[in-house]
């Protein structure tokens, strides 16, 4: 950062005073707002010693919450991935009317409050809802049980995989797939040996982000789970429960598990971005220019 390599005037903001002030200010605010929460979670979690920490995270209620969270992710993430791939395939490989509308609708969950999502599910499957009476007559439990938690999680993460795949598959075009099918490959074979290798990193990127959100979702799940201790408490809900029980250290111990998940998510994100996945600043799917105008092939 000494004299510019070539005979070029320094760029705007390159003066040492501006540089130093900006870097210091940004790092100081960043430390307060982002780093401090991270540090406080870990120090609080271990503030009563490691044995208390271990005791909390192996307590039956916590274990059950972890299990429920993992189970939810094991169902919601794969289903969402299949949807993401199907949506990306349909939207990028074919021209049909209403593609843009479909994109907008698929993106809706991204901008909706999780509470609205939860309330909305209540009005479908709850006793007050569309199917409530029918479900009760048939003795099928959706709300305040695993299916409700999974459905709400799928709602909040619906666009996660699709939004990674669509811009990429749009940019890659259809030539390779068309060549493969014209040489006699089946649709599945074309997908697995031509398309999938080209989208694997973006796909994984979407899956990682989707998983993080599913495991960490609070608002929507809070509405539909009914918060039944040891039964329908996912890990984030369990954190809340412990916190409101004035078991702050226990809450932070449980929270530290989710924090470790967040750290692994960020590491995976950085590694995948090095492979070219998830370029920052991607436009919303439904932005008119995100999908080039349909042109005859």
């Amino acid at each position: 950062m000494t004299a510019p390599a070539r005979n070029r005037p320094p760029r705007v903001g390159d003066s040492p005073a501006v540089r130093r002030t900006l870097i210091t200010a940004v790092l100081a605010i960043g430390a307060v707002l982002v780093l401090a929460p991270l540090v406080v979670i870990l120090t609080q979690a271990f503030s009563l010693g490691f044995s208390y920490f271990a005791e909390t995270i192996t307590a039956p209620d916590t274990r059950h919450a972890i299990l429920l969270t993992v189970l939810t992710a094991l169902i919601a993430v794969p289903v969402n991935t299949v949807f993401g791939i199907a949506a990306a395939w349909a939207i990028t490989k074919f021209d049909f009317p209403g593609r843009r509308l479909l994109l907008i609708v698929a993106e809706i969950p991204f901008s909706i409050s999780p509470i609205v999502a939860g309330v909305a599910y209540l009005f479908v499957y709850g006793l007050q809802g569309l199917f409530g009476q029918a479900l009760q007559d048939a003795d099928i439990k959706i709300l305040f049980a695993l299916p409700g938690i999974v459905l709400a999680s799928m709602f909040v993460t619906a666009p996660f995989v699709a939004r990674e795949l669509i811009p990429l598959m749009q940019a890659q075009g259809r030539d390779l797939e068309e060549a493969a099918t014209s040489l006699g490959a089946s649709g599945w074979r074309t997908f697995f040996s031509v398309t999938l290798p080209n989208i694997r990193w973006a796909l994984l990127y979407g899956v990682v982000l989707c998983n993080a959100r599913v495991m960490g979702e609070f608002g929507a799940v809070s509405v539909v789970s009914g918060n039944i201790r040891g039964q329908t408490n996912t890990l984030p809900l369990h954190v809340e429960l412990l916190y409101h029980d004035y078991n702050t250290v226990g809450a932070f111990a449980a929270a530290s598990i989710l924090t470790v998940l967040a750290i692994f998510t960020i590491i995976a994100k950085v590694l995948l971005e090095r492979q070219g996945a998830g370029r920052g600043g991607r436009p919303a799917l439904a932005a008119p220019n995100a999908i080039p105008a349909e042109k005859p092939q």
Binding site: R11, L22, I41, A87, F94, S113, A158
Partner: protein, 268 residues
């Protein structure tokens, strides 16, 4: 190309079942109230107070993120310093960290006996259990938006533009405000609208730090939640529908701004 019926079928089924059906049910429920009851609920003093604190806090948090996000993006793109890659990675923490975890962490930091709360308390500033706490929680959860929309535009900025301005005698300040900033405006607006939308709907991070006093620190999302817990489903539906309409408006604004930002970037 094969696979249209299958892929489109899965897509429509999923979008219909997971996204459209619940939202339609919510709208249906809210609409079943009739205009007078609906209006009475959504214009009640407590609801209006919740809109005020939600919108005001989201506004302040967004302004903060506009300034801080721009500075952060600038520092990450323009300067080299030790730990830069760590900073770049950790910017995404607010998206990766579950909101409830962020909520209890921020509350512990800013509570009167917390690391920051005790210092601020001495100079008479209360953060936790006041609207200021709501603003901090909102600023945290929507922090990455402006950074991540501005960063790529700043990276692609042609140095020749600045050089030309410098040859013409522009100072750093005038070049920044008259050459660089105008080029960033579309990206800034897009980031700001995403940040604002996210703040309006945020729940998990806020309820721990807010104090949740009706009329003063109760956000709209929480009011909808409370009405549910009181089994007042109609009021919950009405208030949730207000949030839903706001989200649709923000979605339209965001898409408009983003398509403009794109057109702008493409042209340059």
């Amino acid at each position: 190309m094969p696979g249209l019926p299958l892929s489109l079928g899965i897509t429509l089924f999923y979008v219909g079942l997971i996204v459209v059906l619940p939202l339609a049910a919510l709208v249906f429920k809210a609409a079943s109230l009739g205009p007078e009851d609906y209006w009475r609920i959504v214009s009640s003093a407590r609801a209006v107070a919740s809109y005020r604190v939600t919108v005001l806090s989201a506004f302040v948090a967004t302004i903060f993120n506009l300034l801080f996000g721009l500075a952060l993006a600038w520092v990450l793109v323009r300067y080299e310093f030790p730990g830069k890659r760590f900073v770049d990675a950790i910017v995404d923490l607010p998206f990766a960290l579950p909101t409830a975890v962020a909520g209890i962490a921020l509350t512990t930091l800013f509570a009167p006996n917390g690391w920051f709360g005790s210092i601020l308390g001495e100079i008479g500033i209360k953060v936790a259990y006041t609207p200021l706490g709501i603003m901090i929680a909102m600023a945290f959860t929507s922090l990455p938006f402006v950074v991540r929309t501005v960063q790529p535009v700043l990276e692609d900025l042609d140095p020749a533009l600045e050089e030309a301005a410098q040859t013409l005698g522009g100072t750093d300040t005038s070049i920044f405000s008259r050459v660089i900033l105008p080029l960033l405006v579309p990206a800034l607006l897009a980031g700001v609208s995403l940040s604002f939308a996210r703040s309006l709907g945020e729940f998990g991070a806020i309820i721990f730090i807010a104090g949740n006093q009706p009329m003063s620190t109760e956000i709209t999302a929480l009011l909808a939640f409370i009405r549910l817990e009181e089994y007042d489903y109609q009021a919950a539906a009405a208030i949730a529908s207000v949030l839903l309409i706001t989200a649709f408006v923000m979605l339209a604004v965001t898409n408009l701004l983003q398509s403009r930002a794109l057109r702008y970037t493409v042209r340059n």
